[in-house]
């Protein structure tokens, strides 16, 4: 198995630069997910690794080999496309065999590989069918099968689940994860769906506007977002963000947001930066209904309750900015009606510089 190493990767179309110099090292057998809103350069980056787009600047290595000028077919990578790109005129077996036939693999070897792969993917009974006669999930599996039979060094996935309905997507997500565990092939996976990224990735790369915003494990990104963008992108519902000014008090620093005061015990590093403009970030999941020792409380007015079953979303606002809290219901929502304050542990309150958007005062 090989890793993939990107150094200063740039992509330009004419005078327009869409990827601004990316550094990323993917370890052998690692499952890395590139995630970001559309147009952030994640697909372009994947296609540069595949060799489908020329690399304008920088170096791309697969294993130890510099592949900038290596044709896609010689890179030892396989790709699963968003629309699967299954050939409608070939049946499942022929679709999977296509690459092997082009490479003049002996016939009996092809047959063996196809049979094995079909078994892994549960496609054995469908080998004679045409793609048009398969369900969405089956097509998705054939697309993966076509990549697997080649025994590549690296798998590339370009939004492979975005054409499936929600239920099937959850199911296929688990299947991809299992497959990766079983085959252990280095994988690069592109998606705009942060849930997919969180569930699949060993490490997530969050991209925006052609830059990498943060690289880290799912939990690192969730707990310690490096900036407001990542904070807003990872997590559902997204982290609540509102502007505030820091003030000093006897008990420690306080964030003053338009009349709401939030105590920031423990963030002693902030002492003395009174008057600094910040953005306060609080995850909906980190809000508690009852006060505990040392928690800061936020007085609220309830706008709306959305019931999800075991959980409920409380919609409220801090100043003019909407604020959402996610709380457990224990099968009961009556007690939520009269709530007039929410509580949060100071350590859970994230602060970002208002100018740069970067996280402040975190022991990273």
């Amino acid at each position: 198995m090989s890793g993939v190493k990107l150094e200063g990767i740039v992509k330009r179309y004419g005078a327009v630069e869409v990827v601004h110099g990316i550094d990323l090292e993917i370890k052998p057998q690692e499952f890395v997910v590139l995630v970001g809103p559309s147009g952030c350069g994640k697909s372009t980056t994947l296609r540069m690794i595949a060799g489908l787009e020329e690399i304008s600047d920088g170096e791309c290595r697969i294993g130890d080999r510099l592949v900038n000028r290596v044709a896609p077919k010689d890179r030892d990578v396989a790709m699963v496309f968003q629309n699967y790109a299954l050939y409608p005129h070939l049946n499942v077996a022929e679709n999977m065999a296509f690459g092997l036939r082009i490479r003049k693999t002996p016939k009996d070897e092809i047959a063996k590989t196809i049979a094995e792969t079909a078994k892994i993917l549960g496609l054995t009974e469908y080998l004679e069918r045409r793609p048009a006669d398969l369900s969405g999930g089956q097509r998705q599996r054939v697309a993966m099968g076509r990549a697997i039979v080649r025994h590549p060094d690296v798998f590339l996935f370009d939004e492979p689940l975005s054409n499936l309905d929600a239920k099937l997507r959850t199911q296929m997500r688990a299947e991809i994860k299992r497959l990766h565990k079983r085959l252990g092939v280095t994988s690069v996976y592109v998606t705009h769906d942060q849930v997919e990224a969180m569930t699949l990735a060993d490490r997530i790369v969050v991209m925006a506007d052609g830059n990498i915003e943060q690289i880290g494990t799912p939990m690192e990104l969730f707990n310690n977002p490096a900036n407001v963008f990542v904070a807003g992108f990872i997590g559902s519902p997204p982290m609540n963000q509102f502007e505030a000014t820091l003030e000093d008090s006897d008990a420690g620093p306080i964030a003053h947001a338009n009349g709401t005061l939030i105590q920031l015990h423990g963030q002693e590093a902030l002492r003395g930066s009174a008057g600094r403009d910040v953005i306060v970030g609080i995850r909906p999941e980190h809000v508690m209904l009852s006060a505990e020792e040392g928690t800061a409380s936020i007085p609220i007015e309830l706008d709306l309750i959305e019931t999800l079953g075991s959980e409920a979303l409380l919609h409220t606002h801090v100043g003019d900015v909407p604020f959402v809290a996610k709380v457990e219901t224990h099968g009961e929502i009556g007690h939520l009606q009269g709530i007039n304050a929410l509580h949060v542990k100071p350590a859970r309150v994230k602060l970002f510089d208002k100018e740069t958007g970067r996280a402040i005062g975190q022991a990273a």
């Binding site: 327009v16 925006a208 407001v228 807003g232 900015v321």
Partner: protein
Amino acid sequence: MAMVDKKSSAGTETVVPKQTLAKRLDRIQMHIRREWQIYLMLVPTILWFIVFLYKPMYGLQIAFKDYSIFRGIAGSPWVGFEHFGTLFTNDQFIRAVKNTITISALNLIFAFPAPIILALMFNEVLNASYKRTAQTIVYLPHFISSVIIAGIVITAFSPTAGIVNTVMGWLGIDPIYFLTQPEWFRPIFVGTGIWQEAGFGSIVFLAAIAGVNPSLYESAVVDGANRWQMMWKITIPSILPTILIMLIIRIGNIMEVSFELVILLYQPATYETADVVNTWVYRQGLQSGQYDLAAAAGLFNAVVAFVLVMTANTLSRRFSRTSLW
């Protein structure tokens, strides 16, 4: 309090300095190494266009030369616009230009609406198999060669044996030798065109009708409209863009009368109304060997046609953009 700006970094577009020559050459080399096969595939087609369509354009210079076969295209002496002077004082050529425009105008008036009316009528036929059969039959003449079409016309309009004169005989009308009568050439020619192409031409309009949103008709039914009203208030306005685009294309092709059929149907007695520019070019050039004069006439025709087509293209582009609904 203002909304929190979630964008963290600067904009996307950055102007990149021009690449160095060495880097450019390097990229071209890499491109050719990777993509040489598509150039190999393109070469035969491009060569064909050069040899069979662009080389004749080079040969068009004989329109400005005193061309002789022995001296060749390049060797013949220039005479400037002499041939054009000859053309515009030549009664036969001027007659041919007039005939071309007249026949096109008649086609525009009589042949152009035919496929539209046919398509509108097909749209009202309820019985699917009746409709299918009728369509199959009316599309057929499009695939029949002009020689056969002319053969049928000649036979049908023959003075003694032809069905037309037979029927006229029943009605007590004296036989007419239609194909030798100048006043009959244009009606026969335009009528033949309608018979041959109206059915096939209706396909485009039927497709446009098929694209009309069915809920328009449903709401019209609810409003109590009858089929006749729906045709005028829904179908025709909906396909108007298609009609206009086809009309513009037709106007762009005014200089193109299907001269193959003219050659097959006309005779010296009907030149007066039948002779068009291309048939005149054919007789002057290929039959009488006046290549340079004929080429000049052909060039005149091609330039007028080019200007018309380009104007039509521009109009249709402008129109189809604004007409997107």
